[in-house]
């Protein structure tokens, strides 16, 4: 038997001490329950391609004491539509694009705990996502502190995800790998026509929020995301010669992003201008820039309107080609239009309503607060260097709509 050295106990002791600190510092308080329920819809349509995703979500957050809260939730992606089966299959017109029907439901359940002493917060969460052809276990931990009269906030987050993707058995070389026709037999050990591939994700994020004056606040965020494992779409094939093969992506990818957002109060209008800028680069050589401008204002008695516009542009991945038969690029090949040079415009609006509380501090006689929210966005994308043979991308316009309600008891 090997005895652990005293230093091996240091991290658990530190963690225990931190938990005790928050537990002792938190004053008993009446438990407060916040429930969230809502749904979003994503709809994209054009030619023979269509995709509709309905996303219901319910969540509950219980503040047990002033320094200790737990949360739990469920969400789902209900997907239906028709996606491209073979990219660059002969298709001179949009209607000739070869498609495969898509129908799946992804469930995500999870929960977490939050410890806080008012100025410092520790949080940990776990989520399990599953669908016919994909499974994911994800953990995240975050620490946050507020300094200088709470005008400065720092937050660091680490997230780890263990994903499994269903696929067909590996061929002797990528050019011979067929695409997976459907999800039948996935995660069934007895089915020899299906295998499971792994994907590991590490996410590191740091954020600095700063109040500079009574009307100006900024937030600087930096993210590093490291992926190791299977990152292709097993259903998608690319024509690379006489035959088509399942797309073949590198197994490693490091993605880096830095964002700067601001909030500037416009006193004469009693509203706030909200600009944001983000730059991105990854080891597949994609570089992107997104710029956003929003304006939010209270119209009257708890009714708020937010309008926004966003522009996004990126170059293509180092191994992207619009035609791998005539212009192959290295040993990898992809049919993912989001790895081609592209740009997009997004315009949208959001209405939220917080009814004012009565003299007893209650809303509708039994709630401590209530928020209703309606949101809609239109996303128009442009893929000038992506074609299905010679047919342009037909489904380049998407609508995203959401409704939600948050009630606190």
């Amino acid at each position: 038997m090997q005895l652990a050295s005293p230093s091996a106990h240091a991290p658990p002791r530190l963690l225990l001490a931190a938990c005790l600190h928050f537990a002792i510092a938190s004053a008993p308080a009446a438990a407060q329950l916040e429930t969230t329920a809502g749904a979003s819809i994503f709809s994209e349509d054009g030619g023979p391609l269509s995709m509709t995703v309905i996303v219901p979500e319910v969540a509950a957050d219980v503040q047990i004491t002033s320094g200790f809260a737990v949360n739990a939730g469920w969400t789902a992606d209900i997907v239906s539509g028709a996606s491209v089966a073979v990219v660059d299959q002969p298709a001179l017109t949009v209607d000739a694009i070869s498609t495969a029907s898509v129908s799946d439901v992804r469930h995500v359940v999870g929960g977490g705990v939050t410890l806080s002493d008012g100025q410092n917060t520790l949080a940990a969460n776990y989520r399990y996502g599953f669908e016919n052809d994909y499974r994911s276990h994800a953990f995240d931990v975050s620490a946050r502190t507020e300094l200088y009269d709470r005008n400065t906030a720092f937050e660091i987050t680490y997230a780890r995800s263990f994903d499994e993707i269903c696929d067909v058995p590996e061929a002797s070389e990528p050019a011979l790998q067929p695409r997976m026709p459907n999800s039948d037999g996935c995660f069934d050990d007895a089915d020899e026509d299906r295998v499971t591939r792994d994907l590991a994700l590490h996410t590191f994020q740091a954020a600095w929020t700063q109040n500079w004056t009574a009307i100006l606040s900024t937030q600087l965020t930096a993210t590093a995301l490291l992926l190791d494992g299977f990152q292709a779409n097993p259903y998608r094939a690319v024509r690379i010669g006489r035959t088509a093969a399942q797309e073949y992506h590198p197994e490693n990818r490091a993605r880096y992003a830095v964002g700067l957002a601001g909030r500037l109060w416009i006193a004469p209008l009693s509203g706030a201008v909200q600009p944001a800028l983000r730059v991105y680069r990854d080891t597949w050589d994609i570089r992107s820039l997104s710029a956003e401008l929003a304006y939010e204002q209270t119209l009257f008695a708890g009714l708020r309107l937010r309008a926004r516009g966003r522009y996004y542009t990126q170059n293509g991945a180092a191994f992207y080609s619009d035609d791998y038969v005539l212009a192959p690029v290295g040993s990898y090949f992809t049919g993912d239009r989001e790895l081609s040079p592209m740009s997009s415009w997004l315009v949208g609006g959001q209405l939220s309503f917080n009814p004012e509380s009565d003299d007893q501090g209650e809303v509708l006689g039994f709630l401590s607060s209530l928020q209703l929210l309606v949101k809609g966005d239109l996303l128009k994308s442009s893929f000038p260097h992506f074609h299905y043979d010679r047919a342009p991308v037909p489904n380049d316009l998407a609508l995203v709509g959401s409704v939600g309600i948050i009630a606190s008891f």
Binding site: E57, R150, T221, R306, K375
Partner: protein, 69 residues
């Protein structure tokens, strides 16, 4: 790189000087000044963008406390 680190250090040190007193935070406490307005709907939209663009990351984090009381 060294210049960037020096700039970040200067900004961090400057942050301590840029103190807004609690009684001056009326506008900072307005929901329009929050970095996380939209909640669930914003998360769903970010999920869409992550799947419809070749990049992701550097999303919003929770803002600083109001400290108005």
């Amino acid at each position: 790189m060294r210049a960037l680190l020096l700039l970040c250090a200067a900004l961090l040190l400057g942050a301590g000087c840029a103190t807004v007193r609690p009684e001056e935070k009326e506008f900072l406490a307005d929901p329009a000044m929050s970095f996380t307005s939209g909640g669930m709907a914003s998360r769903h939209e970010q999920h869409v963008l992550d799947n419809r663009e070749g990049s992701s990351g550097a999303g919003t984090a929770r803002g600083g406390g109001c400290g108005c009381n």
